[in-house]
Symmetry: C2
Subunit: 391 residues, 2 copies
């Protein structure tokens, strides 16, 4: 039974979305950048906290203008409360300094003339000018930040200004990664005859983190059903979501298929290339999304089916999709959506990179776009439009 | 003397670009995601490492087809070297398994019929079909990855597949941050009368890291020239680049101006709002980029003058700029480029958020775009086009 890409994506979404975490944890602001705010934050104070000067100049009563007014003191931007301003006087004031009671305007220094200890105002000013009112930015009890935003420097600045030292953020999704295959050796061990380095563990680890989730468990198992079952149990205990690679095609020794099938998993085929074999299951209530093991298939399957869900949950933008013009003709398999590897050429065009083979891991690394060739398309000419997804 | 935004940006670029680091450090693949590859990486091995099967099926000699051929064994994807294939025979083979010497084609299982221990081929196949040749993805000595790319999961997968456990990456730019102002208290301390929390330290720290650089030194000093000088000396010793906030306007107690001026710094004014006062210097060969201290001014100055240089060096994309249609009319100060805060409305429009004041830190947090109003523009009508920069 072959599913469409959309059907399988819907199946994965239905399994994964309910387990994406919505509980929050509290992190210090220094660690909060990039995290998703778990709830609304109300301002605990007025911002500005006190009435202060927008300019370097003179604090005055507008009614006393244009002067000349005797300069009776100076208020720097320093701790402390200045004395009230006496009517008919002026006080030097620095940007950010407390505007004294009694003053209702600040005259910028460039609009004044000072002579003999007195200041005259060259341009008339109304009450309130250049005075930053207490609470003029945000009032105590107002919404300072809405829930669900991805925190960046400007949000942290607002929290800090309000004296908030830690923020409630959405817990990151915890992901378990199990790579399968008796031919795999871990990175750092030299492969012998018939062996290859497990690139999927490295790729999925980095891709999960780039999608704003965290890796809570990692295992690599041989094509041994008992070993996979042990790893799977540990994975479902540690994570919100389990990703596996390999072991779901139609050959012999397909351990993921052998284990997930009896657990009620859906072992199927999706009309796409690479990435035809796909499987899903829920084990002890934890979704298991099983990808085929060829490294390009694993990586594309993650990008197509899982990354969009994780990125959205983590407040990250979706991968950019745009239509480009083919730099060369191409052929495609009928009945399958083909994800070919390409590279942007200028702002409008795209060239093919490497070939369609699902083992071409260096070719995938050399590409920066996926070309999406629809199921019904068997060939495209140079100059034809094709949808691309940024990697 | 007033500089244009472009003139000041050129001044900052001329100071900063020479100190952006190009030496490399070696990091393990697990830590390499997001780092910029410091040099070309050549493949140390052929990829694939050995001739292997693209499909689950049968390894055969194409010349022996269509059979029937006796099935003489099975080659799973496991460690070891299979025996050569005898002419006139077939062997079961799994995806990724070593294609035995003597075999020159793989027949997918769905194109075969098995009966009585013999396999017949239903569709003729040529030599080479479904065989992944050794080195077909990348050959030993070929470029596996070019210098200067920002490493993501697919690059790490290619490095891992080639057995490369660590990558040479460009050292991150080391930034020192000095915030100045006697009115500042650190985050976590309750401000008293006339005091505010230092939001600039928090904002610059997060913004520096988001731009792919690292914070090597942080200090907060009062409006005391000697204290600033001590912090500055420590900063230039620790960092490639020093950023400061505050102390450069025309008022009294402007410690950054007082210290940088005699050191040959350029203390000036830029025709922009917020962010008019701007200063630069080179102290002991280390560039010092001094921003005004109002929190919106500090943050915008970093985004406009420094972030583009750091992001480019770290392999990050530039902030997205696009033209949008104003949702409401606005007025702007003649002779200054105004950076107003706004929020995207749908795909095409933009609304103003908060006001133009440089103290509106909550207003900046509520915005997601900057509107760029050109120097010569004094008003724009609802529906007019305006350039925006994504925050």
């Amino acid at each position: 039974m072959t599913a469409t890409v959309e059907e399988h994506a819907a199946l994965v979404r239905a399994l994964v979305e309910p387990v994406l975490p919505h509980e929050t944890e509290t992190v210090q602001l220094a660690e909060a950048a990039g995290r998703v705010l778990g709830g609304i934050v109300l301002s605990p104070v007025d911002l500005p906290r006190f009435r202060n000067s927008q300019m370097d100049g003179f604090a005055v009563r507008a009614a006393d203008l244009p002067g000349p007014l005797p300069i009776v003191g100076e208020i720097p931007a320093r701790p402390g409360s200045p004395a009230p301003l006496e009517p008919g006087t002026a006080v030097r004031i620095m940007t950010g300094a407390v505007v004294p009671d009694g003053a209702d305007a600040v005259i910028p220094i460039e609009d004044t003339a000072v002579s003999d200890g007195r200041v005259s105002v060259l341009r008339p000013r109304a009450a309130g000018e250049y005075v930053r009112e207490r609470g003029g930015d945000s009032r105590a009890g107002d919404e300072l930040l809405p829930a669900g935003i991805r925190l960046s420097s400007r949000h942290l600045a607002a929290l800090a200004a309000a004296g908030i030292t830690a923020a409630p953020v959405r817990r990151r999704t915890r992901i378990a990664i199990i790579t399968t295959g008796s031919e795999l050796v871990p990175l750092g061990r030299e492969p012998g005859p018939g062996q290859i380095v497990d690139a999927n563990a490295v790729a999925l680890h980095a891709a999960v983190r780039a999608a704003g989730a965290e890796v809570a468990f990692e295992a690599r198992v041989t094509d041994d059903a008992a070993a996979f079952r042990i790893a799977l149990d540990a994975a479902t205990g540690a994570a919100d979501l389990v990703l596996t690679s390999g072991g779901i095609s139609m050959g012999e020794h397909e351990v993921v298929r052998e284990v997930l099938g009896p657990l009620g998993g859906t072992i199927g085929h999706v009309a796409m290339q690479p990435g035809g074999p796909q499987a899903t299951a829920a084990v002890d209530g934890v979704p298991v999304i099983a990808f085929p093991g060829n490294p390009v298939s694993t990586q594309l399957s993650f990008e197509v089916f899982v990354a969009p869900l994780l990125r959205s949950h983590a407040g990250l933008p979706a991968a950019r999709r745009e239509v480009r013009l083919l730099d060369e003709p191409l052929r495609s398999v009928p009945g399958k959506r083909q994800f070919l590897r390409g590279r942007a050429v200028g702002h409008e065009r795209v060239a093919l990179v490497s070939g369609p083979g699902s083992h071409l891991v260096a070719g995938l690394a050399a590409s920066d776009l996926l070309l999406v060739v629809p199921e019904q398309t068997t060939e495209l000419a140079k100059g034809d439009s094709v949808e691309t997804i940024a990697l």
